[in-house]
Symmetry: C2
């Protein structure tokens, strides 16, 4: 059951009004990571609540407590919960989005005022939050407006969860999701989840995303002298913590990305021909990766290897050293205590818990081999599990059919290299299938300067979200 | 010819007055590395000039131009040049000291106000600059006062060079020394140099120092992507500059201090039994090194190895990384451009110039081996040559005899692991023997909190400097 032609026509007719409303949303500086903008995030929560109420959605704005940021105790922005429809014959779809944004200043290098949506001649809608994640939230709103104004019933029951702290760790959200997923909770009865908060691989082909990597973050602490030492007086008389740490860090990963900690890469099976074909089929080239990185530095000229490196393999990155000299110029001190930071992106069946003993055994054995008299300890900072779901689920079938209907193309089926922790929270709390259905393109620059959403992605994307609901509805009716 | 008994008695008699004068010197906050204190450094130059004039020394305060510090254009403190005696039958001795000091604040952890000399019950004179280097300058002044008040002729012709920028790179001094060393210059006719600006190895045994290590400082620059990358999106798809840099840095030095860059350690011959005996004879133990470092981390339990590591071998220390994450917490970025900093302390015949090709060949070959697509370059930041002089020179014989006379002990003959660049400047500009004759002890804490000079080191040290002049005078008379 594709979406009715009236809906698609309505979206085209209203395009300019929809863009005008996106411009209003962008003008609210809902930066969650800066205490000074917290009132704007509150304002944004109210704005979203009001907009969805205006199209017939029952709304609850939920207080989720306080937190401390930059030394200030701050109230967390209210989560906007929405509810529309309770027909037991229909599927119940939960949609998620976030109305907070990354910081942005003209002086960072924006070509236009970041909080004033600028409609470019090439169709780009430039402004902070246009793509991440106000555009997608408005995609749902646009769809609901058609049904409200035209007194059409939605093909599904809808539940909404829009938060204002995503760019700052989604503080307070996990507890709310777990609470509302219980019997009698706001999300009780949800059959599937749809999150629109990631991107196409490229600028051409729509995407459905079925996996995310997890992460685990470590500190290697090496300490020796009781204070920083003069390298003239102590050089070649004592064990230097930096020398030990650099040796240790050099045993973690090779230049080609292979993880040298025994057992970690081995947890992931080798891709067979069939699985390789999934990556071969993606509309993404090594040149796309290099264009995105800004330099010809891909680990391989084999597209499948590069894409699997991002999507189906763990990765280990060395981030830096705390306690050593880091400024410009030439300081000659021997640092007394240094901490090397690295993280591992995880894929199933890896979890922070099952990776830790491997990391610990390796670094402790490597440190022992050094024979240094300095002290060493491994510290685990934080972590999150990876997520991969089944793409043959009806939720994905509906999204695939909707993509085909709107874009006349099969979507690329992707896994993301990064994390969207709320995905796993929904999957585990509700026990239902979760789909990531992005609206924007790979070059939207979500956390960069000149963030944009293409007009066609906003308008066709609105059609995609609406059509997806019709496809889910059709499945329920089968 | 030992010093006259009257001189030694005079120093004992005047001890309290000398300490009172040291207290006056310490109270002038002549911090050269902080623009806010520049007027105090000027005041200190005037104070030194006035004091030496008062004991009959001809004084010239020399302007040496401007420099830029912390964004301020500042006048450099005037160098105080002194002249006393022109008897062609006498040796002419040039003495050097510096009247500027390191920064100090009570809040750094001082037990007493740093710029108020505090006389402790155990005889320690605690205050910034007491040992580095106001005490030694006053040692010369005390000696001259005896001769002036008692109308005694000095056994040598004296030249003084006291500067106010030593703690900030001795800016402007090299040019002055080179100018004044020419025929007709202030230092024309100088037969030897005596610098009192270092320390005993321990708290027990006086020292003559005949060598200093040089230094050469490098940056290893590795760059790849055009901007910092998200480690979720790019981990295991591109060559990461940090991975390459850590590998490179791990090839420079081993955990036991051996330099792994081919050819560098080899430039220094193996110590034969006779040379080892020089180090064996020093009154310094592995326990002393470890007490000073604050932890049991000496590279060897063999005292000779440890002392040679500091004094007669080059050393390589890894200082840190510019461009990587260095703060507390857990940032997951892949840095786009990182610079590893390291320095090598040099011993003869090593110089920054003859070491550079070895370092360059090594790091370029190691980087090539990695097979990374990132870009690499070696950058040389700054350097200074090492200095070692002959200890059988009459200048050292005089100092040895003076030490024996005052302390009733043979001095330890040491080389320092660090640098005092002006030493080499004097040696090269004048072509005469330079002696380092320290006044303070190894635990004076020159650049730390609670800097002190022991009362006995100040008073016996004054006798030592005076007696040294008599011993030089005796040699001239032979
Ligand atoms: Zn987002
Ligand atoms: Zn975001
Ligand atoms: Zn000094
Ligand atoms: Zn100093």
């Amino acid at each position: 059951m594709p979406a009715p032609k009236e809906f698609l026509d309505y979206v085209d007719d209203q395009a300019d009004a929809f863009i005008q409303r996106l411009s209003e949303a962008v003008s609210i500086k809902s930066v969650s990571g800066d205490a000074a903008y917290r009132p704007d995030v509150f304002k944004m929560s109210d704005w979203v609540a009001k907009q969805f109420r205006a199209v017939g959605v029952e709304i609850q704005q939920v207080e989720i407590g306080n937190h401390v940021m930059d030394g200030h105790k701050l109230e967390l922005p209210k989560v906007v919960l929405g509810r529309l429809g309770n027909d037991p014959r229909k599927k119940t779809v939960l949609v998620y989005g976030h109305f907070d944004v990354q910081p942005a200043n003209l002086s960072d290098g924006w070509s236009t005022e970041p909080f004033t949506l600028s409609v470019q001649p090439n169709g780009q809608l430039v402004g902070r939050g246009s793509s991440d994640d106000k555009g997608p939230i408005l995609g749902w709103l646009n769809t609901l407006q058609y049904h409200y104004e035209n007194k059409k019933e939605l093909p599904v029951n809808l539940r909404c969860c829009f938060e204002g702290m995503e760019e700052n760790g989604s503080e307070g959200l996990d507890e709310l999701v777990e609470r509302e997923s219980k019997p009698g909770g706001w999300f009780d009865g949800v059959d599937c989840v749809c999150i629109s908060d990631n991107y196409w691989l490229n600028t051409r082909t729509p995407v459905l995303t079925y996996g995310l990597r997890g992460i685990t973050y470590y500190k290697l602490n090496v300490s020796g002298p009781s204070r920083d030492l003069h390298s003239g007086v102590f050089g070649r008389t004592v064990h230097e913590p930096m020398t030990d740490l650099i040796k240790l860090m050099s045993t973690l990963v090779d230049v080609n990305g292979k993880i040298l900690i025994p057992g970690i890469d081995d947890m992931v099976g080798i891709a067979d021909e069939e699985e390789r074909k999934l990556y071969e089929a993606l509309d993404y080239s090594v040149q796309d990766v290099e264009a995105s990185a800004g330099a010809p530095i891909a680990l391989s000229s084999d597209k499948v290897e590069v894409l699997m490196g991002r999507m189906r393999m763990p990765s280990l990155s060395l981030h830096g050293i705390e306690g050593a000299f880091y400024g410009p110029g030439a300081k000659t001190v021997i640092p007394a205590k240094v901490s090397g930071k690295f993280s591992i992106r995880l894929v199933p069946p890896q979890t922070p818990n099952n990776i830790l003993p491997l990391v610990k055994a390796h670094v402790e054995s490597e440190f022992a081999k050094l024979g240094s008299k300095n002290k060493f300890e491994l510290e685990e900072l934080h972590g999150g599990k990876p997520w991969v779901t089944k793409i043959d689920h009806w939720n994905f079938q509906a999204a695939r059919a909707a993509t085909k209907a709107v874009y006349n193309k099969d979507p690329d089926m992707t896994r993301e290299g990064g994390s969207i922790p709320v995905t796993l929270t929904f999957a585990e709390a509700l026990g239902v299938n979760v789909l990531l259905l992005p609206m924007g393109r790979g070059d939207d620059g979500a956390h960069s300067t000149n963030e944009k959403l293409d007009r066609s992605n906003f308008i066709e994307g609105t059609k995609l979200l609406g059509t997806y609901l019709y496809e889910v509805g059709a499945i329920a009716g089968k």
